[in-house]
């Protein structure tokens, strides 16, 4: 069950510069943990000390924000795209 995870520019230093990584994990939480296994430090960039996803980071499964699905327990399927989108303010 490969999903493609889009890594935003600000996090690419933790994934060795990769724009996208793949994962076979079944939920968003498991996908993020899987990526952290391969790229230590990834989890800490996304989660604050209390274990919550940082509020300026959104995660989408395909085009839906996980806040409106099952949060981090949202299941993912083969072919899905998981996008990690932090707020940016450049203008």
């Amino acid at each position: 069950m490969a999903v493609s995870v889009r890594i935003p520019p600000i996090l690419r230093e933790t994934t060795g510069g990769e724009r996208a990584v793949e994962s076979d994990a079944p939920t968003v939480a498991a996908v993020l943990a899987d990526i952290d296994q391969r790229h230590p430090g990834f989890h800490d960039r996304l989660f604050s000390d209390d274990g919550e996803l940082r509020r300026f980071v959104n995660i989408y499964v395909n085009d839906e924000d996980i806040r409106y699905l099952d949060q981090l327990d949202t299941p993912v399927q083969d072919g899905d795209t998981v996008s990690i989108l932090p707020a940016v303010a450049g203008g």
């Binding site: 509020r55 996008s83 989108l85 707020a87």
Partner: protein
């Protein structure tokens, strides 16, 4: 054959066609030919004395037909004739220069004189005359948006010039609003540029934004983003939003009642966690793309045309040359636009973003 542009008001006579063909060696003969096939056409354009109604402008190959020659104007075989009546309802007719300037809009059935009049009557505020504000302002002025407000308190710096195309080398050291005003006047003298050389703040945002129909966000920091957002929600103004980072851009439209920036990002990143353009760098042309998208979305809102980005967040990756979209929803629990708002007036956005007071950059 002569190509004839049919104004919107007469298309009911031509089965809805915006362009028809005709024959005739003079304007009178062309009108006779058109009358034969589309009864009522000539009467709509020609008065009892046989001359064109005074409220009708006629252009042959984009040159206005003078009153002296009128219906006797000779027409060549492959000429284009356009009939442009003044809009009903007391609006000032377009000047001949305006008909030429906006001709490519006027002959688009989706815009036409009615749409161009809407653009000229529109008032748009641009927050920031920098990377995003530059292309947006240039294209909105070119399109004939009649009033463009600009807020910025910066001076033009050499480091701006690789992306802030409103400004040039001769403007270095000048206030950005002075540079912008001069440049936009050159692009289109029809546009009234209203400079607001202040820092947007909780004290002035409602008063300034209240003067405009639509706000285009070209600011470069989080406190101003949240301030602009909240003010637009409180005033029920559409907000055309854009942001950039290195090689990536985002754009959307927030319409009153359909979600806001806080629905998208309830809280900003901690100060210092996201490099600014000065600290991290940015591809110069990137704000050109996003700013132009913001101009298009603004024009679509003014004209009521097409499908707005409202409800969608457009994501642009310049390196992959890829556009993607994710859905945007109104959050019923949003503190400012949700079902039970807890924020009903503007707050201290510097404090909200966790910045020390002296390092705030609003504008």
């Amino acid at each position: 054959m002569v190509a004839v542009y049919v104004p919107t008001s007469l298309r009911r006579l031509t089965d809805g066609q915006a362009k028809v063909e005709a024959q005739g060696a003079t304007l009178a003969a062309v009108l006779d030919d058109l009358e034969g096939r589309f009864p009522g056409f000539r009467q709509a354009l020609v008065a009892d004395d046989g001359e064109l109604h005074r409220f009708v402008n006629v252009f042959v190959n984009q040159q206005e037909v003078g009153d002296a020659v009128g219906v006797a104007t000779p027409i060549g075989q492959a000429d284009e004739v356009a009939f442009i009546p003044a809009i009903a309802g007391g609006a000032t007719p377009f000047t001949p220069v305006q008909v030429q300037r906006y001709s490519r809009h006027l002959i688009l059935p989706e815009i036409g004189p009615r749409g161009q009049r809407k653009l000229l009557n529109a008032k748009v505020l641009l927050i920031g005359a920098g990377g995003l504000g530059s292309p947006a302002a240039l294209y909105l002025a070119a399109a004939g948006v009649g009033t463009l407000g600009l807020i910025d308190f910066d001076e033009v710096d050499l480091t701006n010039l690789h992306r802030q195309i409103l400004h040039g080398h001769k403007d270095i050291g000048r206030h950005k609003l002075d540079s912008a005003r001069d440049r936009l006047a050159d692009v289109n003298p029809d546009v009234q540029v209203v400079p607001h050389s202040v820092a947007l703040s909780s004290e002035n945002a409602l008063e300034i934004i209240g003067q405009y129909d639509i706000v285009v966000n070209g600011c470069d920091n989080f406190p101003t983003r949240y301030l602009t957002n909240d003010a637009c929600v409180l005033l029920k103004k559409p907000l055309v939003d854009g942001s950039i980072f290195k090689f990536d851009g985002q754009a959307t439209v927030f319409l009153p009642g359909q979600g806001c920036y806080r629905c998208l990002f309830p809280a900003p990143p901690p100060p210092g966690s996201v490099p600014s353009c000065a600290e991290g760098g940015v591809l110069g042309v990137l704000p050109g793309i996003i700013g132009c998208i913001q101009a298009i979305e603004t024009i679509k809102l003014i004209l009521g045309l097409g499908e707005s980005l409202a409800g969608r967040l457009l994501l642009f990756d310049a390196l992959a040359m890829e556009f993607r979209e994710v859905k945007l929803r109104r959050d019923p629990e949003c503190p400012v636009c949700g079902d039970n708002p807890t924020i009903t007036e503007l707050i201290d956005y510097v404090e909200f973003c966790g910045l020390p007071r002296e390092s705030a950059l609003i504008g």
